[in-house]
Symmetry: C2
DNA sequence: ATTCCATATGTCATGATATACATACGTAAA
DNA sequence: TTTACGTATGTATATCATGACATATGGAAT
């Protein structure tokens, strides 16, 4: 019944109690590679999670800013999250519009096609640089500290490394594709 | 107005006139890595493409099988396809449920978590083997023949190589993640 | 005879997602 | 003083995508 987004939110709330607004920023900017959502999807999902008994909220009144709702995970929510995390999952086919264009590239002007791939090579190189920066910060923070797999950052590190591998491969492929067209 | 799926279909029809049923099989099984669709999405999309003047159809009566509609691309359809192919496109953020589970892996039992990644390592290795097989067939076919970038298979080859790179990187990452958990 | 399968085309209900609309507070800049 | 911005929470609409439902043909298997 609970969607993938629901579990993504549940995990973030399990890491730290927070508001829908906080979750919204996290799922648009931060280490939420591989899943995104707008606030218009998050607020209704939080309502569903709460009616399912997975989270509760308390209203915090603020003087300088509008009131906010801080959500906290319940025992039932934690149990649901733990069951879902290790539940088998089929390989999810990827969806990528650039690859659809690539399939139709025989119809394109070669110069324009090469430019398209050069542009994406740059975009993925930039994203890779962002991820590498986060990686450096993370590994610096861990100097001398014990690295445990039952801490929230463990999953973040794994996903970050997947992001790095993904962007590096994508960048290299874009470069190769551009070279194939230019040749 | 036309969706990504619409252009994907337009390209397949530009390669070869065919029926909705043929397109359906292509978009579920064949070299349509990175985009998929069920027939329930394809038939309405074909109707939209036809009402937009991008394709036409002729009914072919068959004695042993039900009648079929063979779709052919129009000049307007080809023009629309050519304009779309090289139109700039922003990097599309990926969506992958396994990575959402990975982010929440600190909540998982280590043995079950490792099994999850080992399972996906196997799945991606299998898909990689399928792609490598197609690659071998493709390259064998080209022995001695001229390779031109204005032929339909050129795009297929580029997407295939992206598929290979994607699956290889994913497999390696799954293995690494499993090792990180087992350590 | 009945069932099952591949071919062939469609609709419908549901859920997921994106964009735009909508309101409200307080501060800072123009 | 009006405008814009960041915070904060929601709704409404349209589109995209999946799974189920629906029908029909002819051949092959049970």
């Amino acid at each position: 019944m609970t969607s993938t987004l629901g579990y993504a939110l549940l995990n973030l709330i399990a890491c730290e109690s927070q508001t829908g607004y906080d979750l919204s920023r996290t799922l648009q900017e931060r280490i939420s590679f591989f899943w995104q959502a707008k606030h218009s999807q998050i607020y209704p999902e939080l309502a569903r999670l709460e009616s399912a008994g997975y989270i509760t909220h308390e209203v915090v009144r603020q003087s300088d800013k509008p009131d906010k709702k801080i959500y906290t995970i319940t025992d039932a929510g934690l149990a649901a999250l733990r069951a879902w995390v290790v539940a088998p999952l089929k390989m999810q086919p990827a969806r990528d519009e650039l690859l659809v264009k690539t399939a139709a590239i025989w119809q394109a002007d070669p110069a324009a096609a090469a430019a398209l791939f050069r542009d994406h090579e740059r975009q993925h190189a930039e994203q890779l640089a962002v991820y590498e920066g986060i990686r450096a910060t993370m590994e610096e923070k861990w100097q001398g500290s014990e690295r445990r797999r039952d801490q929230p950052w463990f999953g973040s590190y794994l996903t970050l490394m997947r992001g790095i591998g993904y962007e590096r491969e994508y960048r290299d492929w874009c470069r190769w594709a551009a070279e194939m067209i230019e040749a």
